[in-house]
């Protein structure tokens, strides 16, 4: 916590990232947005022992222990974005609540592709959800983290940690630029249950549509709160059983037989 080296580095990263500022560039018919938070993240990664060797293992562990606290101010800001827009958010309640079911898109798309790629039961852990902390805990509870399912969920968890923020920032930007969605729908969809992924997606959208920025941020924050509330139960009661079922079906299609009981 009193590791002044990482605070100093963070300050320098913030200044450099903000000096570069928001970059917008046209690709084909749409505009892609890059945000300072993405540069801060990438420059931070470049300081690691793998690249520039500016920070060591202790610095990285210290920084890691601070992340949950660094998020709190942003959470307070989200609250203050929801407050003034609350009447409008409640008006859009049905859309906000039902879009939560869209989180099942992970397994509808993920399981078939995972099985076609040749993954076995790793597929269930990997594709049943976006694999944030509550989902890792759930899979650990149901199958154990040493199991194939556990390896799957940990793999996606690590991917989400390392490049999830960048991915969602760009994904939202691409979707807004090239797909026929209203920014409100894309903001609601951003609440996948991870504050940083949601922030990256909503950040891109609000840079693209400054006039709607407050409403977009409020929808994103509200949807992310909902995902936090219902995510675990949806995984346990809907996503996991559905993943098991779809996994068996896909296994039949690919290998022509039901999956054998694992004998490891």
């Amino acid at each position: 916590m009193k590791n002044w080296k990482i605070h100093g580095i963070a300050l320098i990263l913030v200044i450099i990232a903000e000096l570069i500022g928001i970059i917008k560039f046209k690709v084909g018919p749409g505009t892609i947005v890059l945000l300072p938070m993405l540069y801060a993240l990438i420059f931070g990664i470049l300081l690691s022992p793998k690249f520039l060797k500016v920070v060591n293992m202790k610095d990285m562990t210290d920084a890691n222990s601070l992340i949950t606290v660094t998020l709190l101010l942003l959470m307070a800001r989200y609250g203050t974005l929801i407050g003034p827009s609350l009447p409008k958010i409640i008006q859009s309640g049905p859309a906000l609540i039902l879009q939560e079911l869209g989180n099942l898109g992970t397994l509808l798309l993920g399981i078939p592709i995972a099985v076609l790629l040749g993954l076995k039961r790793e597929a269930i852990g990997a594709a049943h959800s976006v694999a944030r902390e509550p989902n890792v805990a759930l899979i650990g509870d149901v199958y154990g983290l040493d199991s194939a399912e556990g390896q799957g969920v940990m793999g996606v968890y690590i991917c989400g940690t390392v490049f999830g923020t960048i991915f969602f920032g760009l994904l939202a930007s691409f979707a807004a630029a090239y797909l026929p969605f209203h920014p409100y729908a894309l903001a609601m969809a951003a609440g996948v249950g991870s504050a940083s992924m949601m922030t990256a997606a909503v950040g891109s959208l609000s840079a693209m549509y400054p006039d709607m920025a407050n409403m977009l941020q409020a929808y994103g924050a509200a949807s992310n709160m909902l995902s936090g509330l219902d995510g675990l139960y949806m995984s346990l009661w809907i996503a996991l059983p559905a993943s098991e079922w779809l996994y068996k079906k896909m296994h039949m299609i690919k290998y022509g037989q039901a999956p054998q009981k694992e004998v490891e």
Partner: protein
């Protein structure tokens, strides 16, 4: 972490955010301080409530709730509070968080390397699936309700 330590880190992050707010969004430090103090106040209150109430609800839930409550139209002084806080650009708060996250991620790079390309590909599909899935539903319902 103890509330005292949380407060210390929060003030540091607050300072970094004020710098980001100045450099990136041209909001002066002095004019942004009241809003930042309110944000730190909301967050600390959430942390303290979490300490006092024994039910296992994370402090972020209290923090978002308090933030929502005091800016809800009709809450005494909500317009004034919103006015101060609007000086703190939302994006300025995100840059310091991702700076710390970037420094921390270095230690997960080895784990990512071991993960294998198939899982990495599945992860990308999973991210796209949840995002587009939710967007399709939200779009249809908003359209159906005539809100967009």
């Amino acid at each position: 972490m103890k509330p005292k330590d949380i407060f210390f880190v929060m003030v540091l992050v607050g300072i970094l955010s004020l710098v980001a707010n100045l450099v990136g969004y041209k909001n002066g430090i002095m004019e942004s301080i009241p809003g930042m103090v309110i944000l730190i106040g909301i967050s600390m209150l959430g942390v303290l409530i979490r300490q006092v109430i024994p039910i296992k609800i994370p402090s972020v839930a209290y923090i978002v709730l308090i933030g929502t409550l005091i800016t809800y139209p009709g809450f005494p002084g909500s317009a004034v509070i919103s006015g101060y806080i609007s000086k703190v650009n939302f994006l300025a708060l995100t840059t310091p968080i991702l700076a710390y996250a970037g420094i921390a991620i270095g230690k997960d790079l080895d784990a990512l390397k071991k993960t294998g390309w198939k899982i990495v590909l599945v992860a990308c599909i999973v991210f796209i699936g949840t995002y587009i899935g939710s967007a399709v539903i939200a779009q249809s319902i908003l359209k159906f309700m005539g809100l967009i």
